[in-house]
């Protein structure tokens, strides 16, 4: 058997196996933890790229765990969406690991650093596992590994507020997991299978059954909590505010994996015609997302803590992804999935910049940012670029995905959703331009002598800021894999 046919399992196992070795390395050679994590993540990034190229050339890949054929064995399906998610996840986590080298020395004590890298690698592996699995119960297991590692990461600093935020996240997240488990149970009772492709075939005759509808409701609510869709987002702002700045960057990926699970549920388990026409679940999701976008933007305007503001902005932008899915056309789905990458890159850049500011000055209140633009020109330049991308100004990447979603709303005959996007861009501009205004034109209260952050923190920032522009001009690059992904999901 050729090695390339084993790539789907290798890409997941590299971070996981490294995670299990990490405590030993942390016990013996503390200095090498970071390098070890970076090498493992770089390796899985390269393999993800090879996988994506393989999928683009040869079509979706199927891998049967231990050689058991589905529906009995566990199946990994690397389709277009799965390969795309693997590339996004491994790219962002690689940058997080690079950034953590210097940043984490200030936030965490020496004993906690190996634990931090262990959790980071576990999280990466399980996120990739959740995006490529073809088995519903395996999806649940991957979701649990990623949830438990992100509960622990959120409270890793050990401060009182971080512990409470982590506990709150844990209670809400565990309820979501129970709902998902109950939903899977309902689907298993009805169909007698756990394989997604098999379920897709067996479900249509059962669509009128109340059990299946209950399963759909339970799974949607469960995954919406994991995705932090607006009325269920309460865990997110507290958790983001009190975690080290590199953790929210990972968590923007966690909530995106929740959105991917919703995509899988709506289009890979249920049939598109059922969730769009028979039970208008996508319409319900799109209106929920529209409310989320507006309300989260309003919340973000009233914040003075930079991390809390970015947290509410995350709630707003994950709702864009759901909005794209909810429109339910090929264009909308493409735009929504494109926003997964664009938001991960942009929000990653913003959180990295906020981390660099906090690392150097310890300031978190936006009103005290005066004069930082001259002290840290590169960091604030990147921040400005990413902020403009969040607002959605061309030629940044934020414009491309917002444009796609708005265009999809117009062509689908739902212009009210396009108005929501425009309005939210305006609200985004209010809270981001306020920060830019203070940093460049504000007068510092007292002169502080600071310079740029160390290079290991600066390079990821520059790289992500450059990606904001590159993905703006070169939006064709992700779209080459996203167009077939949307077509495959909608079955056209």
């Amino acid at each position: 058997m050729r090695l390339s046919s084993h790539l789907p399992i290798i890409v997941i196992l590299i971070p996981w196996i490294t995670a299990y070795i990490m405590p030993i390395i942390g016990y013996k050679w503390k200095k090498w933890c970071n390098s070890f994590a970076v090498v493992a993540l770089a390796l899985s990034f390269i393999i993800s790229l090879i996988l994506a190229r393989f999928v683009l050339v040869n079509g979706p890949m199927h891998y049967y765990m231990a050689g058991f054929m589905p529906p009995w064995g566990i199946e990994l399906v690397v389709d277009y969406l799965g390969a795309y998610m693997c590339v996004v996840i491994s790219f962002i986590t690689l940058l997080v690991a690079l950034y953590s080298k210097e940043y984490i020395t200030k936030e965490l004590s020496e004993q906690r650093r190996p634990q931090y890298y262990t959790l980071l690698l576990l999280l990466t592996g399980s996120m990739m596992g959740a995006s490529v699995t073809g088995d519903l119960f395996n999806l649940f297991v991957c979701f649990e590994i990623l949830s438990i590692s992100s509960y622990a990461l959120m409270s890793i600093t050990g401060e009182g507020k971080a512990l409470l935020a982590g506990y709150k996240y844990l209670l809400i997240g565990a309820i979501a997991s129970s709902f998902v488990l109950l939903g899977i149970g309902h689907l298993y009772i009805s169909t007698g299978t756990l394989n997604m492709a098999d379920m897709f075939v067996r479900l249509p005759p059962l669509y009128s059954s109340w059990t299946v509808l209950a399963a759909l409701a339970l799974l949607i609510v469960g995954f919406s909590i994991k995705t932090a869709l607006f009325p269920l987002h309460v865990w997110l702002p507290d958790a983001y505010t009190n975690a080290p700045c590199s953790v929210p960057v990972l968590s923007t990926l966690v909530i995106k994996v929740g959105a991917v699970a919703i995509i899988r549920l709506l289009f890979n388990i249920f049939q598109p015609s059922f969730v769009i026409n028979t039970i208008p679940m996508t319409a319900a999701l799109s209106y929920m997302a529209a409310i989320a976008i507006i309300v989260a933007s309003l919340f973000a305007i009233s914040q003075t803590d930079i991390k809390r503001m970015l947290a509410y902005s995350s709630v707003c932008h994950v709702a864009y992804v759901i909005l794209g899915i909810g429109i339910g056309t090929e264009l909308g789905l493409t735009g929504g999935m494109l926003h997964i990458l664009n938001h991960a890159v942009t929000k990653g850049c913003l959180f990295f910049c906020a981390g660099a500011i906090i690392y150097k000055t310890g300031i978190r209140n936006i009103r005290e940012f005066g004069g930082l633009g001259r002290k840290m020109p590169v960091t604030m330049g990147a921040f400005t670029l990413a902020a403009l991308s969040m607002v959605g100004l061309p030629p940044t990447n934020g414009f491309m995905s917002k444009f796609y979603i708005a265009l999809a709303a117009m062509t689908a005959g739902r212009p009210e959703l396009a108005i929501v996007i425009l309005l939210s861009s305006l609200l985004n501009a209010i809270y981001f331009i306020r920060v830019i205004n203070i940093t460049y034109f504000g007068i510092p209260e007292e002169e502080i002598d600071i310079d740029e952050a160390p290079p290991t923190m600066l390079y990821p920032i520059i790289m992500l800021a450059a990606c904001c522009l590159i993905l703006g001009f070169g939006a064709e690059l992700p779209l080459t894999i996203l167009r077939p992904a949307a077509q495959a999901l909608l079955g056209v």
Partner: protein, 124 residues
């Protein structure tokens, strides 16, 4: 739509039990102020889910799914082992969630000296 009859309710008492348990668990999590009691509510919800799975795999008079030999081998009814296997995994997951939650509760108690969620909010 299934007509709801008394007999129908009685025949599916195992599912109703798990529904009631989920409700009690959610109520406990919302109403109780103590962080440990909230965790107990969560465990109730999880246990109810396990009960739901285990009871759906069971058949009255069924035996464990080990292939029977001998003269009565053909009329043996086996239960479905898959839900039990799934729930073994889910129990491990629930256990690790509970362990992490208890570790967090210990740390919170060290910091604030109380487990009452309202008192902690006052102290913050």
């Amino acid at each position: 739509m299934i007509p709801i009859e008394f007999e129908f309710l009685l025949r599916h008492y195992n599912y109703w039990t798990s529904v009631v348990l989920v409700m009690i668990g959610l109520y406990t999590m919302i109403v109780k102020k103590n962080l440990i009691k909230k965790l107990m509510g969560l465990n109730l919800v999880e246990t109810a889910t396990f009960l739901f799975y285990i009871s759906m795999g069971d058949i009255e008079g069924g035996v464990a799914p080990i292939v029977a030999h001998g003269e009565h081998a053909t009329d043996v009814v086996y239960i479905n082992p898959l839900p039990s296997v799934l729930i073994l995994t889910a129990i491990v997951v629930a256990l690790s969630t509970t362990a992490l939650a208890l570790a967090l509760v210990i740390k919170i108690y060290e910091k604030y000296g109380t487990l009452n969620s309202e008192r902690i909010l006052e102290l913050m």
